[in-house]
């Protein structure tokens, strides 16, 4: 296994309250695979991503438990210098908002060659040439090396950010909602580009998103997150053709389907539970239409219902017998 998250928990504590943003997550990524991490706002997706880079702001955040293994080596136990070598070089991240993730006072090209120079023993000229080449790869003319971020459009900025993330041929690319801040026409372009470059550079990818359309477009496997837990995991076909967890089923009910003539979409009733007061038992229990008595008292465990298709719900496995 090339990249593995084991039992990761991240808590934020402010003023006596503890917000359990991520709770005992397990996830593994194989070489070349793209995994989608899907969930609504506040499900702990971004916290997971920051946790992987060991960038959780501390305080208030703290990685309470868990291991993040990159080829068997725990990132969380690395020294500061080792971590810096991993960041941007072996694992890199594409941020949500390209408008704010570029430094407005430095030219785009310099920011790009900076990444190269931090990680590779390249001279200034070599880095510049490489940076121009990277700009060309994402479809921006190398002549625009000396321009500032404000001279680029949103979609182009996101391309620059993508080229920065790919500049050092990372093995794992974490994309934190890379298309959320872009309009739909650009979204498709950027996704297509990411898909292509991911293959060209032979990288694995963790795609964080709340957009099931994006997932369908580029992911191989999907992990559905709810209240800091992965409640369902499976291949793209598993999740899209036979969603099993009630939350996943409801999630698909929120997306318009072009084939069926639905007048109204069905929203999921209620709100995500307050992460400082998570309900006992199953976290989804208060909103679940299929709840059974056992859900309130006991936390469900992962049940494998198909090849690699895992669900955290009492409707399956041991709980189903009780029902």
């Amino acid at each position: 296994m090339f990249f593995e998250i084991k039992d990761l928990s991240i808590h934020y504590s402010t003023g006596g309250n503890t917000f359990k943003a991520v709770n005992h997550i397990d996830l593994s990524v194989e070489k070349g695979q793209t995994i989608g991490l899907v969930g609504e706002t506040g499900a702990g997706k971004t916290s997971t991503a920051l946790g992987i880079m060991n960038l959780v702001p501390n305080p208030p955040g703290r990685i309470v438990s868990g291991e993040i293994l990159l080829e068997g080596k725990d990132i969380l136990k690395m020294s500061k210098i080792e971590t810096r070598r991993v960041r941007g070089n072996r694992i890199s991240m594409i941020f949500q908002d390209p408008m704010t993730s570029l430094n407005p006072t430095i030219t785009v090209g310099e920011q790009l060659s900076e990444v190269i120079r931090v990680h590779q023993k390249a001279s200034k000229i070599e880095a510049t040439l490489k940076a121009k080449e990277m700009l060309e790869t994402v479809g921006i003319s190398g002549d625009r090396y000396g321009e500032y971020p404000h001279q680029f459009s949103g979609g182009m900025k996101q391309r620059v950010v993508i080229s920065m993330a790919l500049a050092c041929n990372p093995e794992l690319l974490i994309a934190d909602e890379p298309t959320t801040a872009l309009d739909v026409t650009i979204q498709a372009q950027v996704l297509e580009l990411m898909k292509k470059l991911k293959n060209d550079f032979d990288a694995s990818m963790l795609m964080i998103t709340h957009d099931l359309g994006v997932v369908a477009e580029i992911c191989d496997s999907v992990a559905i997150m709810y209240a800091g837990e992965i409640i369902e995991f499976g291949s793209l076909e598993d999740i899209f053709d036979s969603p099993s967890h009630p939350y996943t089923v409801l999630l698909f009910g929120c997306v318009p389907d072009i084939d069926s003539d639905v007048k109204r979409l069905t929203p999921i009733e209620g709100l995500m539970p307050d992460p400082s007061r998570l309900p006992e038992g199953c976290h989804f229990y208060p909103r679940c239409p299929k709840r059974i008595p056992i859900c309130a008292g006991e936390a469900p465990v992962n049940v494998e219902i198909g090849d690699g298709h895992k669900v955290k719900c009492f409707l399956f496995g041991k709980g189903a017998a009780l029902n």
Binding site: G88, M93, Q96, L102, I140
Partner: protein
Amino acid sequence: MSENPLPLEKENEVYSRKSWWGEVWGRLYLNKMAMAGLAILIILVLAAIFADAIAPFGYDDQNLNETFLRPSLSHLFGTDNFGRDIFSRILYGARISLTVGLFSVSISVVAGGLLGAVSAYYGHMTDNVIMRLVDVFLAIPGILLSISIASALGPGLMNMMIAVGIGSLPTYARVTRAAVLSIKEQEFIEAAVSVGASNFRVILRHILPNCLAPIIVQATLGVASAILVAASMSFIGLGLEPPTPEWGAMLSVGRPFIRDHWHIVTFPGIMIMFTIFALNVFGDGLRDALDPRLKR
């Protein structure tokens, strides 16, 4: 990517290549007061640089036959109690005053800026320790602090600049800290850390250039107050000793003769006033030009 239908020259017109500083200059240029201030400053700097060529007399050329002369064509601003030409002394004094202003502000900008940036970036304990120390300094009025440091170090140009620099250091630490605090939360800082940049690199390359605007404004206004503090210190005898032609010292020396010979104190005073005025007006203009919310 799509083919670009425009020839290269046209493309240059489409993408305005005006840099951020170019835009700031454009806005500053429209501000008449700021430009007037800048003009005065340029004249002063030129006068200071070419004092040797412009000044008709040396700054310590005494002529006891011609003491207390009123302003005339041969002595534009008159002469003082030793018969020295006040116009020449003011020209040479511009050198001292501008040096003191720039140098002491550089001391406080560099030292205060670094303290403020480190304090804001690392936060927690570091922040608390540095900021409480700065608070101790802030509790003492700047000029008193400068006076006590100057009296401990003794008179002299270098000591005076250090004293004035340290006296205004807390303000810069505060200003920089506030600016860094807001910049360090921005996503591009997180992005810089996520590509593996070191703390040092993040502070110097990514944070400080983005905080320059408030620091520059504070520094422009600071040069004015540094000149003023230096003049007051010379006035009470803690700065430069005669015959060095410091404007404050000239005021101080001329004070006993103010009843009968007004010109001895008036001209140095006017020069201080003009310099401070020019710096303040220019500083205000610069602040407005740097503030993007005033963009039209």
